[in-house]
């Protein structure tokens, strides 16, 4: 039976006779979420349809134009193809290359939004089962008034209990279905309309993420908006390998919860190590700080191949699709737990734990599918405890001699390097290793993202990645770090406290480091960048794999960033909100600035709030090692709020940038709500989506992109100080666009007064007013209210 049959119901009956004989004023509302006492007036676009925010999207897209960089000249999406779309050529369906690229972006964003939404559906269903339909949504107790800023903003609803979230998900699913339909051959043809739909998909993605994290925070007792969320162990070096070790990989926490619960109930918590990779591990530590985080997704191969895990449990998302084969190679029993990731395994859900344990321990089965988290949890623990003793003896580590022996086969053909996404100089490492010098090979460990493509390419079947890892064995032992686990949402009081400083400029920006840092050196670079900005007293937010990468770093005193900086949403804080779905809290924080601090109405009022955020909240997202479709969707959700996103060089593979033209003055006028006039406000922020080539370039960009038309002179001076300083240090020069950002002489940082005054004098700079800025034209009819 559909969960629909249990949807929230509000029933009011004024008069009635029994047996349904007479009824008067019977009012039943189903799926009506908003609390009766929510008096906030409804804005123009609750539950927006595909085009309801098209006007706002076009406003953004006319400033921030797509620059397409096709990743293939062809389209192969239907059997008419492949079609050659080079240049101005059209496909058999009439599509042009710009439309094809934006269509591909939409497809990615749909996959991303679907992934989060489907995950949210799993979590809500699970949370309801665990805590009941009436379990209140509670991300932070009294500290939080606006419990679901994105849902309020997008859906115009105020969810109160878990069951309310189901209706929100119905909406998300219907939008995703419609958006996916748009990618069908012979539908949308205009690139900007595709882009508008990308933004819609991104917005839906954020709704889905918010639902997901609200559900698990509420039902599982995670830290509730807690700046002092516990510090937990991070890194392969933290694992006590004398104990049985369970590895969980993925994003959907229920199996991990079941493992932890089972251990607790059986008094085994001290006797088994629960270790995790990817977001599941963060969420496991939100549930129990005893769990250990191994590292980001790129740690999968190296950790499995270490032989340490005695049992591997996977759920969904970002799991290597060859995880089963890798587990088999180390003879670790394997448990899949998600309908979305069955890996061809026999479904043992309906068998007894005893029977399953027997088959796994006896080696009758290499792996099983168990679609019942509790059963999976019990089986995982029991199997781990049974197989561990024997496995401890066989854990193979490749010694230097073996490495040298294996590398001798290398012909220096360079195919491994040509397959490596990071173009790593593997052949040189092989050569040196052959000559007895392992340091070059070991050095690759830092930049290797563990994708295994090198091994696939090697015609000599050299286990390249394994050798790199083996050569780096010492470093790995020292992978002992801490990370502050996911705190969840931002408190209203925090928002109130920083609202002023952000506007005044004591806080020059809010920077979110999100996604995974899967790029050569990407982990180290996000750590360095976050420390740099935290030191400069920006608010640094992070989540997911990037949050782990930040933790894998030490300052001179050996402190990780989480030990060095507070976890509060305040100047100089490094705020780990949680797993990937917790990204919603970062977007939510910017929205809450409009609501809690500036008292704007959120309810179904998307365009106004996005306009507020875009013009006033100096937030920038950084997805350094951008990789998956989820990342595309997350970024799109930020774009629709007008928040710029910077990606690393690999991010150019997302098919397009959204770039402003600082040299087109006309693009940068805003309406001044005080005077009603259009005022040049400078290219602030200059881009909506831009790839940086290096960490140094990224930092300068980020500092620049934090500027907003609404900055006070004090705020602007502060932001310019950082921008100029970062530019001087990293690019060796004062940026040449300073005149665009100086509105009045009061904007000029005191320390640079002379220099900047000289620059302004050499340009045709004129003082100009500081507007009360908006991009919304009040004259134009508001978009139709649909759906």
């Amino acid at each position: 039976m559909l969960p629909l049959t249990e949807k929230k119901i509000a029933l009011t009956i004024k008069e009635m006779e029994s047996g349904l004989g007479r009824i008067r004023d019977l009012s039943i509302s189903i799926g009506k979420l908003s609390a009766a006492d929510w008096t906030e007036p409804e804005g123009p676009t609750p539950y927006p349809s595909l085009t309801a925010l098209r006007t706002w999207d076009r406003t953004l897209l006319s400033r921030y134009q797509p620059f397409y960089m096709p990743f293939c000249d062809l389209c192969c999406l239907c059997t008419y193809g492949k079609c050659d779309l080079t240049g101005t050529k059209k496909g058999a369906c009439g599509i042009t290359m710009p439309a094809q690229q934006s269509r591909t972006v939409l497809l990615s964003a749909c996959i991303g939004a679907a992934t989060h939404t489907s995950h949210a559906r799993e979590l809500v269903t699970y949370a309801i089962k665990k805590a009941g339909r009436d379990c209140p949504i509670n991300p932070g107790g009294n500290a939080i008034g606006v419990e679901a800023p994105i849902i309020r903003l997008v859906c115009g609803e105020k969810p109160e209990i878990l069951a309310d979230l189901e209706t929100v998900l119905d909406y998300c699913e219907s939008q995703i279905t419609a958006l996916l339909a748009v990618t069908h051959t012979g539908q949308e043809g205009d690139p900007l309309d595709f882009e508008s739909k990308v933004l819609h998909a991104g917005m839906i993605d954020h709704v889905g993420m918010e639902v997901a994290d609200l559900a698990q925070i509420s039902a599982l007792g995670y830290p509730k908006a807690d700046p002092d969320a516990p510090l937990v162990a991070l890194g392969m070096g933290t694992v006590d390998t004398t104990k049985p070790v369970i590895l969980v990989i993925g994003h959907n926490v229920p199996p991990s919860v079941a493992i932890i619960d089972y251990l607790h109930n059986e008094n085994l918590s001290d006797h088994v190590e629960v270790t995790g990779i990817c977001c599941t591990s963060i969420d496991a530590t939100r549930y129990s700080p005893r769990a250990k985080i191994i590292g980001p997704m790129s740690w999968q191969l190296r950790y499995i191949r270490s032989g340490i895990p005695d049992v591997i449990v996977v759920d969904e998302q970002c799991i290597r699709t060859d995880a089963l084969a890798e587990a088999e190679a180390i003879h670790a029993p394997f448990i899949a737990t998600s309908e979305k990731n069955c890996l061809g395994l026999p479904d043992r859900t309906n068998d007894t734990a005893d029977a399953i344990v027997t088959d796994l321990v006896g080696g009758k089965l290499a792996g099983v599918l168990i679609l019942d988290p509790e059963k999976a949890g019990e089986v995982a623990v029991r199997v781990a405890r049974t197989v561990a003793p024997a496995r401890k003896n066989v854990r193979a580590s490749t010694d230097p001699a073996t490495i040298r022996e294996q590398v001798t086969a290398c012909t220096q053909c360079r195919l491994c390097q040509r397959a490596c996404p990071n173009d790593l100089k593997i052949p040189q490492g092989m050569k040196a290793a052959g000559a007895g010098e392992l340091s070059l090979l070991a050095g690759l460990y830092e930049t290797c993202v563990g994708c295994g493509r090198c091994e696939q390419a090697c015609t000599k079947k050299i286990p390249v990645h394994s050798l790199i890892v083996a050569a780096a064995a010492e470093r790995i032992k020292n992978e002992k770090f801490v990370i502050r686990t996911g705190r969840g949402a931002i408190q209203d009081i925090e928002i109130r406290n920083v609202g002023g400083p952000i506007v005044l400029g004591e806080i020059p920006g809010v920077i979110g480091f999100v996604g995974c840092a899967n790029y050569a050196n990407g982990g180290k670079e996000v750590a360095e960048m976050s420390v740099e900005f935290a030191k400069r007293r920006y608010i640094v937010c992070t989540s997911g794999c990037t949050a782990m990468s930040i933790g894998m770093y030490r300052d001179e005193e050996g402190k990780t960033p989480y030990e060095q900086f507070p976890g509060s949403f305040s100047a100089g804080g490094i705020v780990n909100v949680g797993s990937c779905v917790a990204n919603a809290h970062i977007a939510g924080a910017t929205i809450k600035i409009a609501s809690v601090f500036a008292r704007r109405n959120l309810r179904g009022n998307y365009a106004e709030i996005a306009d507020y955020v875009h013009n006033r909240v100096g937030a920038v997202g950084v997805a350094w090692g951008a990789m998956s479709q989820k990342a595309a969707a997350i970024a799109a959700g930020f774009w629709r709020l007008g928040i710029p996103v910077v990606v690393g060089p690999h991010g150019t593979k997302y098919r397009r940038m959204l770039l402003g033209r600082a040299d087109h003055d006309a693009d940068w006028y805003v309406h001044d709500q005080r005077t009603g006039e259009d005022v040049y406000a400078g290219p602030a922020p200059e881009h909506l989506f831009v790839a940086a080539e290096t960490k140094e370039e990224a930092m300068v960009l980020v500092a620049k992109l934090c500027m907003r038309p609404n900055d006070t002179t004090r705020g602007r001076a502060m932001k310019l100080t950082h921008y100029i300083d970062l530019s001087q240090r990293n690019l060796g020069t004062i940026p040449d666009d300073i005149p665009r950002y100086v509105r009045t002489t009061a904007d000029i940082p005191v320390t640079l007064k002379g220099e900047i005054t000289r620059i302004l004098a050499q340009s045709d700079w004129k003082e100009r007013p500081i507007p009360d800025p908006t991009l919304l034209s009040r004259d134009k009819p508001s978009p139709p209210k649909e759906r």
């Binding site: 620059f67 000249d73 062809l74 080079t86 150019t652 040299d663 080539e693 960009l701 060796g732």
Partner: protein, 185 residues
């Protein structure tokens, strides 16, 4: 002209592929013919060794010899300044691509739309995608890369050649640039 495969094996582009620069004269001719070339220097140019020098040194030779305006991407400008070159316009590579693809943009020096982009020193996949953007959306101009890896999306590219061969080519190109390019490309 010898066949060439993308340096990163999987980065197949499509039907339209770069002509391979088989001798310096080809590149010379291309550069010489351009009215408003622009040179985009990526950050790897500062680190890649070519003999005793760095790639950036050859590129600056070229820029200086031919008075080609330079766009410095990544953080390479720091190195350019160390080399005494202060005239570069700094912008992210993708922003450079976006502007170059605009036939109304007057180039980094304001002298007119670019008709040739000379590119080197970017991370391979980033250069690949950037060149793809220009291949498809900047029909009025040409692109040439001077890296020693084959970039299928350029109009002209070296094949994947060893450093020594690269060095000889770069020396020839930068030394004789400015003289008549005779080769038909």
């Amino acid at each position: 002209m010898p066949a060439a495969d993308p340096w990163q094996t999987a980065e197949i582009a499509g039907p339209k592929k770069a002509s391979v620069i088989t001798k310096p004269a080809m590149a010379q001719a291309v550069i010489h013919r351009a009215q408003h070339p622009v040179l985009i220097i990526g950050h790897y140019a500062a680190t890649i060794d070519i003999g005793e020098r760095k790639l950036v040194d050859y590129l600056l030779d070229l820029a200086r010899a031919h008075a080609i305006p330079v766009i410095a991407t990544g953080h390479v400008n720091r190195t350019l300044k160390e080399r005494g070159y202060t005239g570069a316009v700094i912008m992210p590579a993708v922003e450079a691509g976006h502007r170059i693809a605009d036939p109304c943009w007057n180039g980094p020096d304001g002298k007119g739309p670019c008709d040739l982009a000379i590119i080197a020193g970017l991370p391979y996949p980033m250069e690949w995608t950037l060149l793809s953007g220009l291949k498809h959306f900047a029909p009025y101009m040409k692109t040439i890369t001077l890296d020693n890896t084959y970039q299928p999306n350029a109009n002209w590219s070296f094949a994947n050649i060893p450093v020594k061969e690269w060095q000889e080519n770069l020396e020839a190109i930068t030394v004789t640039i400015g003289t008549e390019g005779q080769t038909d490309v």
